[in-house]
């Protein structure tokens, strides 16, 4: 088992049913499971996108995601949680990221999964590079709206 069993950084795709089953295993008192899947859009900033490449900072990524995950568990009563983030080359409609959270009651799972995604966006060391149909490559710029989304959760 890795140091962070609830965090996975991987090139390969993931299966939602399988991952949610793993999230729920051993927890009988779950009443709610919220899963967020982020996918590659074929358009960004008005341009068609052919390839999306995800780079990360090995070591820091796991540590940053685990910190976010544990903060979610401190803020809301959760049964279990899981973060999977893919790296490498992906294509339109591919799955990029999964955040799945289980709890007894639905409100905690909704808030916690939203919180984890908002913090992941601004605190986990991943970077996206797009390739356009003409072969041009460009790094995706950070969005101000993502920083605003994070700030909403400040207590």
């Amino acid at each position: 088992m890795s140091e962070y069993p609830h965090i996975k950084i991987q090139q390969e795709d993931f299966d939602l049913t399988t991952e949610v089953a793993a999230l729920r295993a051993g927890h009988k008192d779950i009443g709610a499971v919220v899963s967020f899947v982020g996918t590659v859009r074929d358009i960004n900033e008005g341009d068609e996108v052919s390839i999306l490449e995800l780079e990360h900072y090995p070591g820091m990524t796991e540590k940053a995601l685990e910190k976010i995950r544990l903060e979610a568990h401190e803020r809301w009563a959760l049964e279990s949680s899981l973060i999977i983030h893919r790296i490498g080359k992906m294509y339109p409609t591919d799955q990029i990221v999964l955040v799945a959270v289980s709890s007894r009651h639905r409100e905690n799972a909704f808030y916690a999964s939203h919180f984890i995604m908002d913090y992941l966006k601004t605190n986990a060391p991943f970077w996206k590079k797009e390739t356009l149909p003409n072969g041009d490559e460009r790094w995706v710029d950070a969005r101000i709206t993502d920083k605003e989304a994070e700030n909403r959760w400040i207590k």
């Binding site: 982020g38 070591g59 990029i96 605190n123 060391p125 991943f126 970077w127 790094w139 710029d141």
Partner: protein, 82 residues
């Protein structure tokens, strides 16, 4: 020695992913000053960049964060995952 890493657009702009540097700088800020003497692209990416992100040993750091031999210092642009 300290280990210095560059990610994403920084790696491309600076032409390297990582390097070993003598640990003679007391803070991240001092290291940035030193690296910025290498040329205009270094100066722009590190010294003059309002959006510069820094990590020391996998934790978010600032310009006044202390560094010592054996540390891993990383420079990168704002993150865009998820």
């Amino acid at each position: 020695m300290i280990n210095v890493l560059y990610f994403a657009s920084f790696r491309e702009m600076l032409g390297k992913a990582d390097e070993q540097i003598k640990a003679e700088h007391s803070t991240v800020g001092a290291l940035i000053e030193s690296l910025s003497t290498r040329g205009e692209n270094w100066q722009k990416a590190l010294l003059e960049n309002q959006n510069l992100q820094i990590a020391v040993n996998h934790d978010v750091a600032q310009r006044d964060t202390m560094i010592k031999a054996g540390d891993e210092i990383a420079f990168f642009p704002p993150v865009t995952g998820g």
